[in-house]
Symmetry: C7
Subunit: 107 residues, 7 copies
């Protein structure tokens, strides 16, 4: 269950520490030929997304901040589980820890 | 279940270590046109809140105190779970650890 | 279930390491107008208490003792769970670890 | 359940940190004499695979990156459990952490 | 269930590392006026005891031995759970780790 | 359930890090006098085996590789649980971590 | 369930790292006056034993080997749980980690 945010734009969200804000790809709700798919087909979110923003990174025990491995705009592969969901209007976003992001997608 | 406090003002509470005292946003109990919503619609707390106070920060193993990443007045995004709830009068507050706070909200 | 102590005064108890001895606030058993409340209303302990005594603090891995963050006389906010209960006569006390104490209450 | 990817080629996937992208061996779906085996016989994936790509390695607490123990092209033995599955077209791939890979297969 | 020892005297037991050998207080089996209490009233062990012997202390990761916080003869408060029970004749003893002992009792 | 390998010889398997490849002893399937035992008597694997190959050892956090405590040819005592099973033809092998091996057997 | 060993003498077993090989005391199967006790009385192993052999000790993270706290011939007190059982002929032995041994018994 993603909590509905009270703020209007996802740009308002500034991740802390090593958290990464990601917008998951949404499955197409109609086919290439324009036929709408029933929700039972389309309602499972994909494990891919675009990084919207990242925190500055978490500090090591010695206090040195380690920057995140991804940056805003990166297209990434996400784990199937975990993350904190947040809903802004009709869009659903997730906050993952940087080291939970599995891979970058580069095409 | 939030425990009801015996003290009158939340200002009396001074968080220890890296704990952050947060007042969650309350859902609107009436609509823009003044119609009151039934509690079944409004009783789930939002995942947003305002920082009321923070502790000085927790020490590293070497004894250096790491200040919190948020400060009083910050509007923040909270995880859906966790935190210690406390009720002062009709208001409900939460104590989270600093690194449990997901993001700042800046508008 | 709090174990009943054999000693007469709580002053006899000297906490070890980073343990903090706390007396929880008891709910009022009669109202302001003198009406006694049934136990079903009053028997849940409050999450507040007064520090009776603290240990010297726990040592770091390097052997340096870190003093507790609270001291005897402090009024504190406790977590809803945990702690070791001990009963001396009719009074119930708890031993918490220093870093389990959530906040000080200063009025 | 492997999530279906939206990208066309597995070459688009760049593992982060110490993650290793592996293509599992598929069981033969027909016998040496050309008889097709029913899926109940063939649908359990083998514990072997080929490394497609690896991340640069994870940093130690001191910040030194430790390279992966396997490299693209290596044939490897996988644990029976774990890993993150991803489906690209008809092929199923897995992302494991480098230290979860059990052995190299060298023939 | 406490295992029955084959040795005759508890003095034979030399705790290793940071273990503390404790004799729990036994509930009075007769009242001040000499009436014997039924076992259902008296068979729960008290959370207090006397230290019989301690180990030399456990070494830190750097190899420095940290002495125990209690010594033979100390009267101590024990947690309600844990410890290894051993029975010598009719007496029941417990071995706790030094940092599991909650407090000293000084009257 | 041991996964059936696609490679022909166990010599093809090169353990990574601190993993140890072991062939468990098989119970005798016939008695000294030549009577074959039913599988219900013989199908529990013994907790002994012969080391076939070991990895180079796992690195410490400082990056120094610690060699395994056993070597190819060693006869070893195994724990009753754990390990990753792999089947090559009719033979079943196990991969254990070096520090899971209990003892060497020297006759 | 203790696994039956294939080797003839327990002397063949050389513990690795910080493991300690212990022979548990067996309960007397007949009384002082020569009456044999039924197995229901005698079949629970005692928590005492004699050290048969120890490993060289486990290395610290810095690589320094820490010798075991007990040595062959020591009579020791064991925890009620844990350890790896092995049966050589009619005798049952256990392998414990050195820091699981509770105390030495010195008479």
């Amino acid at each position: 269950m993603a909590a509905q945010a009270t703020f209007k734009s996802i740009k308002s969200l500034v991740p802390l520490l090593d958290r990464v804000l990601v917008q998951r790809f949404k499955p197409e709700t109609k086919t290439a030929t324009g036929i709408f798919l029933p929700s039972s087909v389309t309602n499972s979110p994909l494990n891919e997304g675009t990084v919207i923003a990242t925190g500055p990174g978490a500090p090591t025990k010695e206090g040195k901040v380690v920057p995140c491995n991804v940056k805003a705009g990166d297209r990434v592969l996400l784990p199937s589980w975990g993350g904190n969901a947040i809903k802004v209007g009709e869009e659903e976003y997730y906050l993952f820890k940087d080291n939970e992001i599995l891979a970058k997608i580069q095409e």
